[in-house]
Amino acid sequence: MFLVENQIKLFIPEFFFASAFLFIVLQTSLLLGNKAYKNPLLVQITLQFCNFLLLIFLVLQVNACAINFSAFSNLHFLYDNLSLNVKCFLIFFSILVLFFCSNHILETKINLFEYPFLKVLTILSLCFLVMVNDLLGLYVIIEIQSLCLYVLASFKRNSAFSTEAGLKYFLLGSLASCLLLLGIAFIYSHLGITDFQNIYSLTASLEKSKFLFNPLNVGLLFLLAGFLFKLAIFPFHM
């Protein structure tokens, strides 16, 4: 019970953000389904709403920074000064991004209201990603983020390039997440543990294996390969 209570206390900004976001989604979809308005264009309004929501999120996060100055971790999420500060930076710059993309939406005529929602969900998953302390949670969060990015890559439906890019990105990205999962499975089969701090303390105390390709090393290699595939960095770039 203590654990659950603490988790909820730690995630008050995120919980607020996610629930308010879901409320906005519900309202916009109801508005869109209403026949009296005849297919209204809701992109700009939802964009401004999301920006406002991010602003409140930033204020809550700064507030959390001021209150919880002590480092705290509860096995799945690391909650220290570094992650809090990174989150504040992240939200600030994402507000700027959303602010500047309203002109872009006007120019490219993206009229679907899901566009800002997907960006906001990407930001939410990034906020979880900076605090995550567990391989399982890492995989789930990266999967959310990359699903958002697949959709955003193929968002311009009437362009063949956009569709092709989205499809290629989806295929390569799913391959990369398979590699990530395989690496996680190898590490788990070797150590029986998925959270970072315990992995660190176990590997520090374990004696060095003579065999270079022991499952731990191979797991870390697969993990690294998956990340590099996701980011398209040097040995795995196309």
Binding site: V4, E114, P215
Partner: protein, 194 residues
Amino acid sequence: MLFFLFSVISSFFTITAKNPVHSVLFLILTFLNCSAILFLFELEFIPLIFIIVYVGAVVILFLFVVMMLNIKISTKSDDFFKYFSIGTFIGSVFLVEILYSLGEAFFLILSPLGSKPFFSFYGTPETFNNLKNIGILLYTKYCVFFLLAGIALLVAMFGAIALTLRYQRVSREQNSFKQLSRNSFSSSFFVRNL
């Protein structure tokens, strides 16, 4: 043992069957046999997932795709030897890796002493079964990840709707009054062959 033999034979036929529909059906048989083996080891969760996810969804999807694409005869594989070397290389690397990590269990099977190699979950100190343990863990310890998985499903729904739905001005909707007011006299027609 019977399930093991059946699974090996059906997986062999999955690769070698000429008709893709037959090969997909053999794949289903392989999955069912594997899940039966896992049931005999008293692991309930994984075989249920196998049956529900793989047999129920993925393989049926494969079957539909194969049947809709209507590829009847696959050509006898000419490029079997083209991919043979790299395939064996990657396969042997993975085999060595798995043997190294799970080697003790495998060698216990081979040893003549015949001690029980697999870990029986029946005699674990907690008397819950496998499914119940997973459920309890999922809703207490990993509840945040469970919520995040819900968000992932929401994202998938967003993506599917945003990429496929087109708002038509004149959409074909059901006119329920018109449907209900039909009777047998106005709805049956004679079509004359010309």
